[in-house]
Amino acid sequence: MSSPTPVARITPKETQARVAKSLRRRYWAERRFRFYGLAAVLLGIVFVVFLFGTIFFKGASSFRQSYIKVEVFYDPAIIAPNGGMPSAQDIANADYQAIIRTGLRKLFPQVEGRKDIRDLTRLVSGGAAFDLRDRVLHTAGLVGQTETQWLLASDDVDMLMKGHIERGTEAEPGPLNQNQVAWFDQLVKNDGLELRFNKTFFSHGDSREPEQAGVWGAVMGSLFTLALTLLLSFPIGVAAAIYLEEFAHKNRWTDLIEVNINNLAAVPSIVFGLLGLAVFIGFFGMPRSAPLVGALVLTLLTLPTIIIASRAALKGVPPSIREAALGMGASKIQMVTHHVLPLAMPGMLTGTIIGMARALGETAPLLMIGMVAFIVDVPKSVTDPATVLPVQVFLWSDSPERAFVERTSGAIIVLLGFLVVMNATAVVLRNKFERRW
């Protein structure tokens, strides 16, 4: 159309041609639009797969750990240097490093010289000596015996075994020097070095040495924190929801509470950490790093979620139930506790589990109240210093050792495992008990 045509002169045929022409363009636009939508959905899915893939790829190997097979001779001369029957004191204080050294030298009799022997003993983790000590302490009659033990290998040996670090060359040695790499190869060839289930990872607390570090301390810390959070937030949340839904009259005051709860649900979690630091630690003088304070902060954090979910569950109970109960002469409290609450309970529990899952993954507010300390011991009560799983992930991700990358991913897998279990429980609960009225 080079020259402008007056509108009135368009014939129906021309109109049809124009529409047909524009239709192609419009259908193309339609397809493009649809493609963008599909691409966005696929992008999200690809990301989920990629994220889980990398985490599992990096972390799966942390559940297995390298151990070195050593003939251990519990030499009475080392355990009780003064002769006689070794006392418990002797056994606790003996030089197990020397026992390990002797065992290793039996495997590699050709190794001579102070430096080489030191390099050789470094193949075994420093934690192996403590494992041996515990074994001798808890098993009677081992002293003087010889037995085959799988000793925990050092983190560098473990990483080389799993192929995570370079072997290095003479000119450019990796974390292990060339002698150590040669010994490593010999051990592998003689089946003296293998990957076995990583018991340490599931039974120990944190450590500076990656091969001795475990998630058990963090798991227990999370357990204490979450249990206390649940104990506080569930009754309070349900009570608040019952008041707002069943008792409160609609007025300015309840409006304020409602707006307040909705807003609290969207306040950044780190602000709750500031509150905990200033009020619980600064003002009330509670101990730092304790699950107690963590639980208080997480309670305040999860309360809005639980209240909102519980109110929705209460709203789902039809008014006829209430009217029937009141009609039979029940008081308002009886109506709620005998009829409405049991019917709303599954919904409330679902909401609570989801709130707990959120609390389990929460990190930032716990950093504020000092649950980020390096803690080796597994906590035994809610006032012991402790750390929790996500904070353990944060701490390990900061460590420079290559082996900690694997540990971090391993801890994430454990954390995600707990989350999957909790969310699956919530889904099952919802499907099983949800009633449509």
Partner: protein, 462 residues
């Protein structure tokens, strides 16, 4: 008795009170046969007796436990030698800490200095007196409460109403905790922030371009006066949140549109939970992913085309944060789109619009207020997100708009200023609370605005 043991005894006592109250009620009407003469069920009489036994005693116990230590310390310090009493507050705190350590058995008695030893002895003595007094008082209150209620029990006594009144008060108390939390946040953060603004003028904080919160350990240290200009932090937060929103809004919106309008029911049923998984992953996992996978990836990519990308670039943190927010945007947008009445779509189809034209020109426009509200909520989330930026963004306060450089954010600085040992009155620590106040106010404003818009929108189609 220790407070914990006392608590157990009190629980036992209220169980006794329950039984006594119930039996008394039955006795007034001559056993089970006369039960219909009672105003309430017998268990209500028991419950009321138990509550009146336990609640006042518990309140006293709580108050006592909260203030006991402070009062004892006051008394102990007032008996210390004058030289100790005249110490400045911070050193006096150390002395008191020593006393606490000796009392707790962390430091042996023999190793302590004589004045501390004396103070610790006095502390222990006072504490044992206080415990005896507390035990006597709590038990007395419990018994008095129990006896008072029990003597008032008669067939006409409205026990159920009294119990229900107490329960209702408890319910009100629980719902007030949410309000108290907000008040607590505002008071604690604002109070510490006010102390900060007493040391650093507010205009320097809001408009200053230099952020280096170092404070001197010694008076003669070089560069001892930290500077607290927060503009680089605000800019960094805005940059990272902006990148995140550039990812989250289109991806979230398009996936919501696709799932709500185009997708087959089965496809929707499978993919929606899959995308919602993203919302359930802890942020620390995203942070790890951003720092160890996305960051190095971007860096390698930048090197391959000759672009200098910092290993802790704003881009890596922003990208991952954007992905984290996608399900948030998409689920809100989904709600809003499904709330648009079908009649609007039908009208558009009747005029000959294609599906995408209907969506673009009718559905999205009708849902726009709701979507905007959702996006505002998402922005508030991005601003307050902590772990991703702590792990993947930098610490250096650069004032830059280049996404390949490292920037720092408000939340990162709060964490770095407060993690580790700190004293409560240095401007460095207090600055974190000032940042927290800004963060709280900004997110609060965004939330209120967004919730208001969303609420207005929902009302429109109801």
């Amino acid at each position: 008795m220790t407070p914990a043991a006392l608590l157990v005894v009190l629980v036992g006592l209220s169980l006794v009170a329950y039984v006594l109250g119930k039996s008394r009620a039955l006795a007034t009407v001559g056993g089970n046969r006369g039960i219909r003469n009672l105003h309430s069920l017998p268990s209500y009489y028991g419950a009321l007796t138990a509550l009146w036994c336990a609640i006042p005693a518990l309140l006293v116990l709580g108050a006592w436990a909260a203030f006991q230590d402070a009062i004892i310390i006051k008394l102990v310090t007032s008996h210390m030698p004058a030289t100790v009493q005249s110490l400045p507050e911070s050193q006096l705190g150390l002395v008191i800490n020593d006393v606490h350590n000796v009392v707790a058995g962390n430091v042996s008695f023999d190793n302590a200095r004589p004045e501390i030893r004396a103070a610790a002895q006095e502390y222990l003595q006072l504490r044992s007196i206080s415990r005896y007094a507390l035990t006597a008082l709590v038990l007395a209150i419990g018994i008095v409460g129990m006896v008072l209620v029990r003597t008032r029990i008669s067939p006409q006594f409205r026990a159920r109403n009294a119990v229900e009144q107490l329960v209702e008060w408890a319910l009100i108390g629980c719902s007030l905790i949410a309000v108290l939390t907000t008040v607590g946040i505002i008071l604690s953060v604002a109070f510490e922030a006010a102390r900060f603004f007493g040391k650093v003028p507010w205009y320097e904080f809001i408009f200053g371009l230099e952020w280096s919160p170092q404070t001197a350990i010694r008076a003669d240290q070089v560069g001892s006066s930290g500077s607290f200009g927060a503009v680089p932090l605000f800019a960094g937060t805005a940059l990272i949140s902006g990148i995140a929103m550039l990812i989250a809004v289109p991806v979230g919106l398009f996936s919501a549109i696709y799932l709500a309008e185009y997708a087959h029911r089965n496809f929707r049923a499978w993919t929606k939970p899959f995308l919602e998984v993203l919302a359930g992953i802890p942020t620390v996992v995203y942070g790890f992913f951003a720092a160890l996978t996305v960051g190095p990836m971007l860096r390698a990519w930048g090197e391959s085309i000759g672009l200098p990308v910092a290993s802790e670039s704003a881009l890596a943190a922003g990208l991952v944060m954007g992905i984290m927010i996608v399900p948030f945007v998409s689920s809100l947008a989904d709600d809003m789109i499904t709330a648009v009445p079908q009649s609007l779509r039908d009208g558009a189809y009747a005029l000959g619009a294609t599906k995408s034209e209907t969506i673009k020109q009718v559905v999205v426009r009708a849902a726009l207020p709701g979507i905007v509200g959702g996006v505002l909520l998402a922005i508030s989330r991005a601003i307050g997100e902590t772990m991703i930026v702590v792990m993947a963004a930098g610490l250096a306060a650069n004032l830059t708009a280049n996404p390949f450089e490292a920037v720092t954010t408000v939340t990162v600085q709060i964490v770095t200023l407060l993690v580790g040992d700190q004293e409560f009155d240095s401007p460095k620590t207090l600055a974190a609370f000032a940042l927290g106040l800004v963060l709280f106010l900004v997110t609060l404003g965004l939330n209120i605005l967004a919730l208001h818009i969303v609420k207005k929108y929902r009302e429109q189609y109801e």
